[in-house]
């Protein structure tokens, strides 16, 4: 009994312990790691992954997956930047529609939501595996980004817009505030609302959920829509931080996001996990990325290390599942 108890406690805190050990090692290996500017920089970078990973967590909790978040992020960033910078010209109507910062952000957010909703609709309506449907969306969204930008970055977006990605509020970077709000809303959604309970139920046993009267398709579409919207939030933050919408932004972000979810203890088979666990996972991935750069590890080796960390996390997750 004591062994089982301690094993359970270890499983609960394993990502926190991993994070602590990682920070300890990096602070010994690099004198820059614990510098104020580096830590805020890491937090800014992590904020984007946290937003995406929160959406990914909701999807994985329903036993789904979304491979399109990186491309959706790029497209939403590009749409926001393009509308803000160039507006829309309708020569046949002799009309120019200009967008304020608010308007451009709403358009980017709506684009992400619509693409997410489309993912959910394709998955539920045609019974397409989430892996395949979102893989298709990955390509579609990247292609649309190239079409929208012409392959060129869209830069020079103005100081008001830059505040989102580079500004400070009450001594904390704005992206960190945004990720705090996103996490708080997601925790409320999963822990305090009916739809949050449905999400866990669907991931635990979809057939039983359907039989017990839950509108499974509707919940899934909502979840994918939220994930799309959060990818858009990430895209807007990245675009603002760089003062530029890059057509190739967000490549492999889906992997960092899935890694954060898995390392955070969310089961890939659904029904088990938490938003706060994912936040820990995202911080671990962010710190790991930062540490590998500070230690001058070759980018090729960085990918190898990250892959192995994800594999290790999945093995530990499986082992925890067996023990439970």
């Amino acid at each position: 009994m004591p062994i089982a108890y301690s094993r359970k406690n270890f499983a609960r805190f394993q990502s926190l312990i991993a994070l602590f050990l990682l920070c300890l090692a990096l602070s010994v290996l690099s004198d820059k790691f614990l510098s104020f500017s580096n830590l805020w920089n890491v937090m800014r970078q992590i904020s984007v992954n946290i937003c995406i990973s929160v959406g990914m967590t909701l999807i994985v909790l329903t036993a789904g997956i979304d491979l399109s978040v990186g491309s959706v992020l790029a497209l939403c960033g590009a749409i926001t930047a393009g509308l803000l910078k160039n507006g829309i010209e309708l020569p046949s109507q002799n009309l120019y529609i200009g967008f304020t910062v608010l308007g451009a952000i709403l358009a980017g957010g709506l684009t992400g939501s619509a693409l997410g909703a489309f993912n959910g609709w394709a998955i539920t309506r045609f019974n397409v595996p989430p892996f395949v449907a979102t893989l298709a969306m990955l390509t579609v969204a990247r292609g649309l980004t190239m079409l929208w930008t012409g392959g060129f970055p869209i830069s020079g977006l103005g100081d008001t817009f830059l505040f989102i990605g580079t500004g400070w509020f009450l001594g904390i970077p704005v992206p960190v505030w945004i990720s705090i709000v996103v996490v708080a809303l997601a925790v409320f959604l999963t822990d305090k609302t009916r739809i949050g309970r449905y999400i866990y139920a669907i991931g635990g046993n979809e057939s039983a959920s359907r039989l017990s009267g839950i509108n499974v398709n509707r919940v899934k579409i909502i979840v994918y829509t939220i994930a799309g919207a959060l990818a858009a939030v990430g895209g807007i933050m990245v675009t603002s931080r760089l003062d530029s919408a890059q057509p190739n932004a967000g490549i492999s972000y889906e992997l960092d996001s899935i890694a954060a979810v898995v390392i955070g203890g969310t089961s890939l088979s659904g029904g088990r996990g938490s938003i706060l666990g994912t936040v820990q996972g995202a911080i671990i991935i962010g710190v790991l990325n930062n540490g590998l750069v500070l230690l001058n590890v070759s980018p090729f080796w960085q990918q190898v290390v990250k892959g192995l960390v994800i594999l290790l996390a999945v093995i530990i997750d499986k082992s925890n599942g067996k023990n439970e």
């Binding site: 930047a81 393009g82 910078k85 160039n86 010209e89 309708l90 020569p91 109507q93 002799n94 009309l95 120019y96 529609i97 200009g98 967008f99 304020t100 608010l102 308007g103 709403l106 358009a107 012409g150 060129f152 970055p153 869209i154 830069s155 020079g156 931080r241 760089l242 003062d243 530029s244 890059q246 750069v293 070759s298 980018p299």
Partner: protein, 210 residues
């Protein structure tokens, strides 16, 4: 909350958001305000008045690579330009070298004065794309442009000038063993620095045949 009030509230919020999100103008007035941008003319002007005179400030490639090996941050701060805060940054460089190989797409040059074991640099002669020259100069301010399309078109026109003015006379004469003096732009990644595979987008090329 009764449904009519809920709908009314929704409509008010929607109207407020819409009012603060978009604005409408007559297209011809907008176009008249921002007279049609002549990217080719701008690029010609930039080439003659800013880029060519600015070549005197180009950093010697041998000196740059040496400094990058010892004081990377200082070298990037001192000589590079870029838009935004990414790791990709551009340098305006100059140098002299001996042509080691001539291929369809590039001319490989062994730098004079480069240390033992230094790799050759490549002068692009076929694929002249990207924003390297525009951004390396540090002489164009993106905020002076009303839209990103104009800004990107300037880059395309600068590349066109290189393809028309700089490359053809060089490409028609250059051969292995020639001594070449070049000015141009290079792109380096601050985090993942690769100094053994540098490609130069040329702005000025001169051959001294032995």
């Amino acid at each position: 909350m009764p449904k009519p009030i809920r709908y009314l509230l929704f409509a008010v919020v929607f109207a407020l958001l819409a009012y603060n999100s978009v604005y409408f103008r007559k297209l011809d007035e907008v176009k008249a305000g921002a007279a049609a941008f002549d990217a080719a003319g701008y690029a010609e002007d930039f080439w003659g008045k800013k880029l060519i005179p600015g070549l005197s400030k180009a950093v010697d490639l041998n000196a740059l690579t040496a400094q990058l090996k010892t004081e990377k941050d200082k070298a990037f701060e001192q000589y590079s330009h870029a838009l935004g805060i990414g790791n990709i940054r551009y340098f305006l460089v100059k140098g002299q070298g001996i042509v080691a190989d001539v291929s369809e797409n590039e001319v490989s040059v062994k730098l004079i004065g480069a240390g033992e074991g230094a790799g050759n640099v490549r002068i692009a002669t076929e694929y002249i794309f990207g924003n390297a020259v525009r951004d390396a100069s540090g002489a164009i301010d993106i905020n002076a442009f009303t839209n990103s399309m104009d800004f990107n078109n300037v880059s395309a026109e600068i590349n066109e000038l290189i393809r028309e003015k700089v490359v053809p006379p060089f490409k028609s004469k250059v051969k292995k063993g020639d001594r070449v003096t070049f000015h141009g732009a290079i792109e380096l990644n601050r985090e993942h620095l690769q100094l053994n595979n540098i490609e130069i987008i040329p702005v000025s090329l001169q051959i001294e045949q032995p």
